[in-house]
Symmetry: C2
Subunit: 591 residues, 2 copies
């Protein structure tokens, strides 16, 4: 059977950085050439970055993408890389078709999400994404018009069909047409965001679609953080029976090279698939390569659930800092578990020397909290400073006479003013340390602990915060390093310490119970009647749901943070602020 050496380059690109992304594509093409590959594939929209959002609707941006692609093709040939076949995602527009005409209800300028095939200094063809996701974090009906063809390219005597990301996830379309085309390989370019356990789903999907397509399937994915999305790489190859034969690591930029033996075509693919996909065939080389000795395929070891989640957060934070031009971060260290974990993550992401922790004790701060904050600083080596807040709190109290909740929030807001002042003075990015459980029920002070440019734990439930902290310490011990997080921060009862003796359970149920309920209500979109039927106390269901619904206005102004769960607040779950929908247990059990 004909052979092919394929490089899957999982890159960490930046939205809008056409020049920088081009440099990466050229460098990794050279890497693939050096390793003897005949084909190198880059992720979906690798040239522009992903997701481009409404940049797709700017004509000047689409023009720039088209121009850069043409330049890239020429440059590769000029630099002696004209022979390798390069498959690369970029932004284009529909022309000369019904979809290429502007009209109300269609994205302005008819942008298309494409994968170009480059060879010999030319653009051989371009595949257009057919299935556009418009759910969860995706809004692609807003940004793109769909393609209606399958591009098949004969490379060294093998017909390679090309599809783009969602084309793999939805039934029908390019995958089904690949079988009709009798292709020898289905190559799928992706920018598929991370969420917990998605790697398992992805592996099964690739296996199933390989069987459906009737040929091996190669899957290349983006790596890195972009706003609230993290991409985990995890590129992989399945054979025609669906067995995964090669898999790249998660969260690491690089190229995986795989040698494949593939079926030769029996004729020239043509026609139209059952669901109307037109098959278009292009020939680069009709003849197979002379037989050569294949290299062995690699399978990167899989990460544990905690390791995977921790790496996703580190990646998201590192790229948010770097891609936005920051050099350092600042966070408030309370001695509690959330800020301790964020500090450890920040040190892992950008190095302790670039992390600035500020302890802002109030008159209600406990001695153990102050000690725990200092211990954390000592364990990690971050820059540490103590600024007691009472001298700044007192003038507000004297002038305004605030008490109760207003006084509690005042302390949190004075801390925020300090952090933002230091940020303005020294250019640090401020990190907010709130977790998903707090965000869900509104257990935070708006313009207080909720300030910041990035919130690493925004989508991490409190029970997972504890799991991650324990995992990080155990991982350190296993590696012979100092565990960064003080044991006391993990074991003590959570408290905001904004009044004497306060603990979170004064206002909230125990976190294991709360997180179970939030999983049902937020992640699964279940109604209150279903929660009660599942055994939760009706009064508690009613209380928690009201807290979640009421906190929407706070969540709107919360900093961005990496998507970790199936349903992140904001991009994934978009609800009205003003809503009188009160799905409490009483109403739900009414007839």
């Amino acid at each position: 059977m004909p052979q092919l050496r394929l490089a899957l380059a999982q890159l960490n690109v930046t939205v809008g950085d056409l020049d920088g992304n081009t440099e990466k594509i050229v460098a990794w093409t050279r890497n693939a050439v050096d390793r003897g590959a005949q084909v190198v594939a880059f992720p979906e929209l690798a040239l522009t970055g992903y997701p481009v959002e409404d940049l797709a609707l700017r004509g000047s941006f689409v023009d720039a993408s088209q121009a850069k692609l043409a330049k890239l093709a020429g440059r590769l040939a000029d630099e002696g890389m004209g022979e390798i076949v390069v498959v690369v995602g970029y932004l284009d527009r529909a022309v000369g078709t019904a979809m290429g005409v502007d009209r109300l209800g269609r994205p302005k300028g008819s942008p298309t999400n494409c994968a170009a095939v480059l060879h010999g200094g030319k653009i051989v063809t371009s595949a257009v994404k057919h299935h556009l996701p418009n759910y969860g974090v995706f809004d692609e009906f807003r940004h793109f018009v769909p393609g209606d063809s399958l591009q098949v390219v004969r490379i060294h005597g093998i017909d390679v069909a090309i599809a783009i990301c969602e084309d793999l996830w939805q039934d029908g379309g390019p995958v089904a047409a690949t079988r009709d085309a009798g292709a020898g390989l289905l190559l799928v370019v992706n920018s598929s965001p991370y969420e917990a356990n998605k790697d398992d789903v992805r592996g099964e999907l690739v296996s199933r679609r390989a069987r459906e397509a009737g040929c091996p399937l190669a899957y290349v994915n983006l790596v890195g953080g972009q706003d609230e999305l993290v991409f985990d790489g995890d590129s992989l190859v399945a054979d025609a029976k669906g067995s995964v034969i090669a898999r790249a690591p998660q969260f690491a930029e690089g190229a995986m090279v795989v040698d494949l033996e593939l079926a030769a075509p029996s004729g020239t693919p043509s026609g139209t698939s059952a669901d109307g996909i037109r098959i278009e065939h292009h020939v680069i080389h009709d003849e197979p390569l002379a037989p050569y000795e294949p290299i062995a395929a690699a399978q990167a070891p899989r990460l544990s659930d905690e390791a995977e989640m921790y790496h996703a957060i580190v990646t998201g934070l590192r790229d948010y800092v770097r891609k936005n031009g920051f050099k350092s971060v600042l966070l408030g260290l309370s001695g509690g578990i959330d800020s301790s974990l964020v500090a450890a993550i920040a040190c892992d992401a950008i190095g302790a020397e670039h992390v600035h922790g500020v302890s802002n004790p109030s008159v209600y701060s406990s001695e153990h909290s102050k000690d725990d904050a200092a211990d954390l600083a000592a364990h990690t080596g971050l820059n540490y400073r103590v600024v007691p807040i009472q001298p700044m709190v007192q003038p507000f109290l004297d002038t305004l006479g605030l008490t109760g909740l207003a006084e509690e929030n005042l302390q949190a807001r004075v801390r925020a003013v300090i952090w933002m002042g230091l940020s303005n003075a020294d250019g640090h990015l401020v990190l907010a340390c709130g977790n998903k459980s707090e965000l869900a029920v509104g257990y935070s002070t708006i313009y207080g602990d909720a300030v910041g440019g990035y919130a690493p734990l925004k989508d991490v439930p409190k029970t997972a915060v504890w799991r991650l902290a324990k995992w990080r310490n155990e991982d350190a011990i296993a590696k012979g390093q100092t565990p960064p997080i003080p044991a006391n921060a993990i074991s003590k009862p959570p408290s905001a310490e904004l009044r004497p003796g306060q603990v979170d359970t004064d206002s909230l149920p125990e976190y294991h119970l709360l997180d179970d309920m939030l999983d049902d209500y937020v992640e699964q979109d279940r109604g209150s009647a279903e929660l009660v039927a599942a055994g939760f106390d009706p009064d508690l269901v009613s209380k928690v749901i009201q807290l979640v619904d009421h906190a929407e206005y706070k969540r709107r102004q919360y900093p961005p943070g990496p998507k970790i769960t199936r349903k992140a607040f904001g991009r994934d779950r978009r609800l009205p602020i003003t809503s009188a929908w009160r799905e409490d247990a009483r109403k739900a059990t009414e007839t």
Copy 2:
């Protein structure tokens, strides 16, 4: 020709308030009965409120909408209103069709945006929205599956076809099918958000579609504020030639009653339109009414551009306060034009006795600013308080040693802490006073002047702020009232007064020039090359575009405010925070 008396009820409903919305629908049905109408039409999704956003994906919410609709039909009959035909928008789900099956890429539970026809205690039929908008502020592919039929109902011998909002805006579909069906009237239920000058576009659209449908067209629209959207009512009727024969006022809840003479059907509509819309026919009454004396149609006077915009902002603010359960608002009064206009708007929206203005002079505040703030308070009668900030600023300066921009921002943040403290203590909703031009270029202090629950001028360019202030004063003079806004606040050069002698033009171009550029770059999505070609200075184009692009992170955390222009930040214009796309003049003119 057969006659029909039609009531178009433009209601101000609240998202999620099924009970409250039902009471309004019953009350206005009674009003229509009392006025002798045979048909009353309510807006799109009147029962649930609009837009429901991801509430559409909650099964319990769809269940509740269905159950409420069935109860409403029964209740109307029970209360002696079974004879009037009621057309009302509600949320349903597709069942028994291909679209009614859950699968990836389709909204969970297959929700549908419907208009039910109620008569005699029963649901006669239900029209499903066919064209789903997924651009601008709309995300309806995320929330609904489309309908594929045109519902035609014979009422007193007249065939009435029903369509929903976007069905009118896009070509083909239900409007075209209405002509095929030979209907005597096309009734369109809408929740069409306000934007400046949209009433002109809407009038022309209704005229054109009436001619296309070949029959009169009746258009009923929502009224009121919902998060960042404002609905202006403006219900209207055009005859078969496209002449507008009746028009309701903007921003006023109520019902317009119109008598129409309509063509009798020549047969029973059936078949399928050219673009695949199935025509379904239902008979309530075959026989026309006995002839009666019609009442004259009314045409509400049109508002000036400034009056319309002002009313939109007042409506948005009033409903945000009321629907979120607030009783009062608080804002910082600087003596400048923005806070002065917001104060006037707030007094008009909820009454001066519920408006609390706080003057927070710093050491850099001018005497005229303090005087102007006090004058405004005296003119409007709002609650006024002066809290100098120096005693609270100084301890931060002493502790942290902040200077320059950090010191400037500190003042704004200390003010914010004061406002939020008073809000916590007394339950006021805090208003942010920034305008669209500031928001565009990031000329604000995050967690400082940008704090608040609602930002009335968020989508109002600075030049329009001046126009609105002048209009409000002139309107007061014309009515023999005291102009609320001090003349000096309108005429003086804008300044943030955060350092000695500071004026906005130290950092920004003159606002008339800035607003012209923002109109090109933001509203029209033009590229920098086009701005330069339009005659703007290339260096200034480069500077302004960089400011706009860089300010995205601040805009993400800005409070909601009413959509006024064609392209509001946030819902309408969704860009990455992290983006290296720098569309400056140099790059744009490169070959």
